[in-house]
C-alpha cells in the first residue's frame, strides 16, 4: 500500500510522519508528473485552502485528482482538505473538488485567538485529542455523508464512502487512531 500526500503547501510533512509511524509508505505530490506513480489513498493536509486550490489548478493536478476521488480513491482531508472536498462552503463562493455532501463554514471559530484544543468522541474510535487551528466546521451533512464527531454541537468529522474529513488536525497530536481509521478505509 502507498499513500500520496498533497504537498503544495501546509502541514504535509506531519502527515507523512504519522504514516511512517504506522509503517505505511508515502510520497509527496507537488506536480503533475508525481501522479504517474501508483497510490492507493490520498491525504490533503491542513494549510490554506485558497493556496492549495489555486496551485492544484495551475499545476494541472486538479482535474486528474478530482476524477480519481469521484472514481472512489480513498481520500482524507484535514482542515483545508475538508474545505477542498466540500460541495458547499457557506461563507465562500469558491468551491474546489466539490465531491462531498457537506456544507462547511470557513474560519468558523474566528482568528488565531479562537484556535483551541479539546478531547472528544470519534465514532468507532472513542475519545481522541483534537487540535483546531483557525478551523472550519461542518454545518450540515446530506446524502450518504455520516457524522463521525461533534464538538459543542458542531460537526467536526464526517465520512462519505471513500472520503474522510476532519476539521481538526490529528497529525499534530501523538494519537495515530484517525490515520489508522483511514488506512483501514483503504484496506477495505
Amino acid at each position: 500500500m502507498k499513500v500520496a500526500v498533497l504537498a503544495l503547501q501546509g502541514a504535509f510533512a506531519e502527515h507523512k510522519q504519522m504514516l511512517s509511524r504506522l509503517g505505511v509508505p508515502s510520497f509527496e505530490i507537488r506536480q503533475k508528473r508525481d501522479l504517474d506513480k501508483p497510490f492507493d489513498g490520498l491525504i490533503i493536509p491542513g494549510g490554506e485552502s485558497t493556496v492549495q486550490g489555486k496551485l492544484m489548478r495551475e499545476l494541472g493536478l486538479f482535474e486528474p485528482l478530482r476524477e480519481r476521488i469521484a472514481g472512489g480513491l480513498p481520500v482524507f482531508g484535514t482542515c483545508a482538505g475538508l474545505l477542498l472536498l466540500a460541495k458547499k462552503i457557506k461563507n465562500d463562493d469558491r468551491v474546489h473538488f466539490a465531491v462531498m455532501d457537506i456544507t462547511a463554514v470557513r474560519n468558523a471559530y474566528g482568528r488565531q485567538l479562537g484556535s483551541f484544543y479539546t478531547e472528544a468522541e470519534f465514532k468507532g474510535i472513542g475519545q481522541i485529542p483534537m487540535t483546531f487551528i483557525r478551523a472550519p466546521y461542518i454545518e450540515d451533512v446530506s446524502g450518504e455523508a455520516e457524522v463521525l464527531a461533534t464538538v459543542s454541537g458542531h460537526i467536526v468529522a464526517a465520512r462519505e464512502g471513500n472520503q474522510l474529513v476532519t476539521a481538526f488536525h490529528p497529525e499534530l497530536n501523538d494519537d495515530l487512531s484517525v490515520h489508522k481509521y483511514f488506512i483501514n478505509m483503504i484496506k477495505n
Binding site: 506536480q31 490554506e48 496551485l55 484556535s115 483551541f116
Partner: protein
C-alpha cells in the same frame, strides 16, 4: 500564556509551511496577494524599502489600516510591532491579529529587552541571524522564527548568511556529545533544554522561514533549498513591475523549489524586479537591531 496556547501558536506556523507571506500596505494589495497564493499577509503602512528610503522613526501601523486588511482577506493577517514595545503588541492582540512580528524593520523601542512573549495569547514571529538569537527569541516565547536578512534591499545575501549560519550551528550541535551541550547553552545564553531539543531533533523547536531581500523565484528556491520552511517576501513584490505575476511565480517556486525547469519557466517575463541596494551601499543595517 498557557502551555496549550503556545502549542496552538506553533501549530499555526506549521500550517503556513511551504507558503509565501507577503507584505501589503492596502486592502487592494492584500487581495492581490491572496489571489496570487499568499498563505498569509503582513499588514504594514510602508514596505521596508520605503521605510529605508524615508528614514526617521518607524512604528506600528494604524490599527484601522490593519483592520481594513483583516476584512479584505480570509487568510491569516500578521502585523509588526517594534522590538521591546509590548504596548504596541498589546494593541495588536486587542484587534485579534493572527501573528505579531516583533520586527527589526521598525525602529527598536528597547535597546536591551525584547517583549516577554509568554505573556501574550497571540503568537509571535521574530527574526534571527544565528542559532543563539533564534533560541533566545524562542525562550522569550516566539512561536516562529525567520531569518533577519536585510529588509528592503532586494539583496538576498544576508538572508543566505543567516540561514546558513543557523543550519550549520544546528548541524554542529546535532553532532556534539551530550556533555558538551551544557557549555553550548552557556555560550548561546539559552536554557539547556532548548539546546538539547536541537541536539535530538536536528532542527529548531519552531517553524523557520526565510525573510529579507527575497525578490525573485530563484531567490525563494535558493532559501528553500538552504532549509527554509517557507518565505516572507516584503518589498520584492509590490516594488516590482508586475506584482501579480511575480507573486504567483514566487508561490509556485516555493512549492516546487527543486524543479529548476519549472522555475526557469516561472522566471520568464516577470518584468522589472525591485531595484536592489547592495550590502556595501547600506548605511543602516536593520539586522543588527535586537540580539
Amino acid at each position: 500564556m498557557s502551555e496549550n496556547r503556545y502549542e496552538l501558536n506553533k501549530n499555526l506556523a506549521q500550517m503556513l509551511k511551504g507558503g509565501v507571506i507577503m507584505d501589503v500596505t492596502t486592502p487592494e494589495q492584500a487581495k492581490i496577494a491572496e489571489a496570487a497564493g499568499a498563505c498569509a499577509v503582513m499588514a504594514l503602512e510602508r514596505i521596508p524599502a520605503d521605510i529605508r528610503a524615508a528614514g526617521g522613526v518607524s512604528r506600528m501601523s494604524d490599527p484601522k489600516m490593519i483592520k481594513g486588511i483583516q476584512n479584505a482577506v480570509s487568510i491569516p493577517v500578521m502585523a509588526k510591532c517594534r522590538i521591546g514595545h509590548f504596548a504596541e503588541a498589546q494593541i495588536l492582540q486587542a484587534i485579534e491579529i493572527d501573528y505579531i512580528d516583533e520586527s527589526e524593520v521598525l525602529s527598536p523601542a528597547d535597546d536591551k529587552y525584547h517583549i516577554d512573549k509568554t505573556k501574550f495569547d497571540v503568537p509571535f514571529v521574530c527574526g534571527a541571524k544565528d542559532l543563539g538569537e533564534a533560541l533566545r527569541r524562542i525562550n522569550e516565547g516566539a512561536a516562529m522564527i525567520r531569518t533577519k536578512g536585510e529588509p528592503g534591499t532586494g539583496d538576498v545575501v544576508q538572508a543566505v548568511r543567516h540561514m546558513r549560519m543557523m543550519q550549520s550551528e544546528i548541524r554542529r550541535i546535532g553532532s556534539m556529545a551530550n556533555d558538551e551541550l551544557f557549555d553550548t547553552a552557556k555560550q548561546l545564553q539559552v536554557p539547556y533544554e532548548l539546546v538539547l531539543y536541537v541536539h535530538e531533533h536536528k532542527k529548531l523547536p519552531v517553524v523557520n522561514f526565510a525573510a529579507g531581500g527575497v525578490a525573485t523565484p530563484a531567490d525563494a528556491a535558493l532559501m528553500m533549498q538552504l532549509g527554509a520552511e517557507g518565505v516572507f517576501v516584503g518589498s520584492g513584490i509590490f516594488k516590482s513591475g508586475n506584482p501579480e505575476k511575480r507573486a504567483a511565480a514566487i508561490v509556485k517556486a516555493v512549492t516546487n523549489y527543486t524543479d529548476a525547469k519549472m522555475i526557469a519557466e516561472l522566471s520568464e517575463d516577470l518584468g522589472e524586479a525591485m531595484v536592489g541596494i547592495n550590502e556595501q551601499e547600506i548605511e543602516l543595517l536593520m539586522a543588527e537591531r535586537g540580539k
